[in-house]
């Protein structure tokens, strides 16, 4: 018997493997179609915005305040306002969320209090943003007397994003093997030393990704800022967190539904700018994640 024949008898497909082969092909095709269906609306949205809005995107549109009852001019104050809102809400939510996540994952004892807190976090993450808006009005605008201001709006956004930041921080920390912590404790390192030198360096990519994704979510929200700090029309730039500001999401709502005679391209162009901002954040987050992942050490 020649060598070729032996190989043929040993490795040729049996009916069984052929069947599983074709099942595999079908499964793969369906998964591929699902992915394509997912991408379809994404490209449709981007296509729509670009075709309808691109013509309005000029230097003037990006760098000037709206004029003539928002039917002319640009969206510069709204861009700056959105940056203020996400900046301040990030400054509040990120440290608190990350610290709470560290506490819950690394220190909190396994008991019913901790379980209740974890349950609360999961449920808070599902609360609709309009409910957060009402809470923000009650707690920050009225009770704390912060008025309608960037501070009130940002705090409302922070409250909205906190549960998810906490949850994603916990998840990132939990992905670091317990064995590393044990090895470190055994060597006489304290809990905090272990967190700082072992756990955080190996989970920072996941933590930051979670934070940035929430930032871009906050950038797109309208309800939580509408009654707490975002202005309908305010051609000046805010000077401090006590001022109100315009915001892209709010402005988009305004020019699409609230004022007459807006050029048709304006809402699309505003949406395009907002989307670009959010996508930039997300790409930044993906880039950061890839960079930090590559440095991961196990």
């Amino acid at each position: 018997m020649s060598r070729g024949e032996t190989e043929h008898t040993d490795f040729s497909a049996t009916p069984m493997t052929e069947a599983s082969h074709s099942r595999q092909k079908i499964a793969r095709a369906f998964l591929g179609i699902a992915t394509a269906l997912l991408l379809l609306p994404l490209f449709a949205i981007i296509g729509l915005l670009v075709t309808h809005g691109m013509s309005a995107i000029t230097a003037e549109f990006l760098l000037e305040a709206p004029t003539a009852g928002m039917t002319a001019g640009g969206i510069y104050p709204a861009i700056i306002g959105t940056l203020w809102l996400i900046g301040v809400s990030l400054a509040v939510a990120a440290p608190i969320g990350i610290m709470a996540g560290i506490y819950l994952n690394e220190y909190a004892p396994e008991n019913w209090v901790t379980r209740m807190i974890n349950l609360a976090i999961v449920n808070l993450a599902g609360v609709p943003s309009i409910v957060h808006a009402l809470f923000g009005v009650g707690a920050f605008v009225l009770f704390l007397g912060l008025g309608t201001s960037i501070l009130s709006a940002s705090l409302t956004l922070a409250v909205m994003t906190l549960p998810v930041i906490i949850a994603s921080t916990k998840e990132a920390l939990a992905s670091v093997p317990v064995a590393f912590r044990h090895a470190s404790w055994t060597l006489g390192a304290s809990r905090w030393q272990t967190i700082w030198h072992i756990v955080l360096p190996n989970s920072v990519s996941g933590i930051l990704t979670g934070v940035i994704l929430q930032v871009s979510r906050a950038a797109g929200e309208t309800a939580p800022i509408m009654f707490t700090g975002a202005a309908f029309y305010l051609p000046f730039l805010p000077q401090s967190v006590q001022d109100q500001c315009m915001a892209l999401s709010m402005h988009l709502f305004t020019v699409s539904t609230q004022v007459p005679n807006v050029p048709e391209a304006f809402p699309y162009a505003t949406a395009l700018v907002l989307l670009t901002l959010v996508v930039t954040f997300n790409f930044f987050s993906i880039g950061l994640r890839t960079y930090l992942r590559a440095r991961r050490k196990w």
């Binding site: 470190s184 055994t186 060597l187 006489g188 304290s190 072992i198 991961r296 196990w298």
Partner: protein
């Protein structure tokens, strides 16, 4: 061991249960300074649990309940204020090596650094000495910056031994260290242990009966959480064992 030898570790009435299930049942034994005490016994005998009580790693298992006392140099380990300082006095080697996610050098320098020793030349010396003691230095001396997690299993095990020695511990506990190590390396580490006993007290948990016989001064047999017998190797590895089960276990008749 003579009665004149100093008692390094005194264990009395030590019982541990995990969520109500007993893992150790009133163990009492002493470990003398500079001896090698080996602990043998089949799976689930409580050997690892015993080691975890010595450096109080048992604290990190939420549903573990500990009764009885473990004293080191006469001090109850449960009363010590700084558990991290206690752990620095006790080197621990696990059955499955865990290289910390950092360089080989940093792995060995980790414990001293965490204890505040940061002098570069002293650390360099220390790292080299620990790696030599664990018979790893020659293999890694040209790549100290490589990741500890990327070493082979046997090399990682020797890395964890080097790490355990980095605090110049008074007590060294080894838990089935040779699982991931080839026989030649095992013999080299055994030589190292014989050398080390001049300076440290060694508790060696092993599932290799012959290893206990080769290395230990005395050997204890654990069975289902109980201490069956503890005696000098002369007795344990002879026909004169006090308990029939010791003889049977050593002969490989069960376990």
């Amino acid at each position: 061991m003579s009665d004149l030898a100093k008692k390094k570790i005194e264990v009395s009435g030590l019982s541990v249960s995990y969520g109500g299930v007993t893992a150790l049942d009133s163990i009492s034994l002493d470990v003398y300074e500079h001896e090698i005490l080996s602990i043998i016994g089949p799976a689930n005998a409580g050997k690892t649990t015993f080691l975890n009580c010595i450096n109080r790693m048992i604290d990190s298992i939420p549903d573990a309940r500990v009764q009885g006392t473990v004293k080191i140099d006469g001090d109850d380990v449960r009363q010590v204020r700084d558990v991290n300082a206690l752990r620095r006095r006790i080197g621990m080697v696990f059955p499955l090596p865990v290289g910390l996610p950092m360089s080989i050098y940093d792995n060995v320098a980790y414990a001293p650094r965490m204890a505040g020793k940061t002098d570069k030349t002293r650390l360099d010396e220390l790292v080299e000495r620990c790696l030599r003691q664990s018979a790893l230095f020659d293999e890694v001396k040209d790549r100290m910056g490589d990741l500890g997690t990327k070493l082979s299993g046997g090399q990682q095990q020797r890395l964890t031994i080097a790490r355990a020695l980095s605090m110049e511990p008074e007590i060294l506990c080894l838990d089935e260290f040779s699982i991931a190590v080839d026989p030649v390396t095992t013999m080299r580490i055994e030589e190292v242990l014989k050398e080390l006993r001049k300076e440290v007290t060694i508790v060696l948990v092993t599932n290799l009966v012959q290893q206990a016989k080769r290395l230990a001064d005395r050997t204890a047999l654990f069975l289902d959480g109980k201490l069956i017998e503890l005696d000098s190797n002369e007795i344990i590895f002879s026909r004169r064992t006090a308990d029939q089960r010791t003889f049977q276990y050593v002969q490989g008749l069960f376990g």
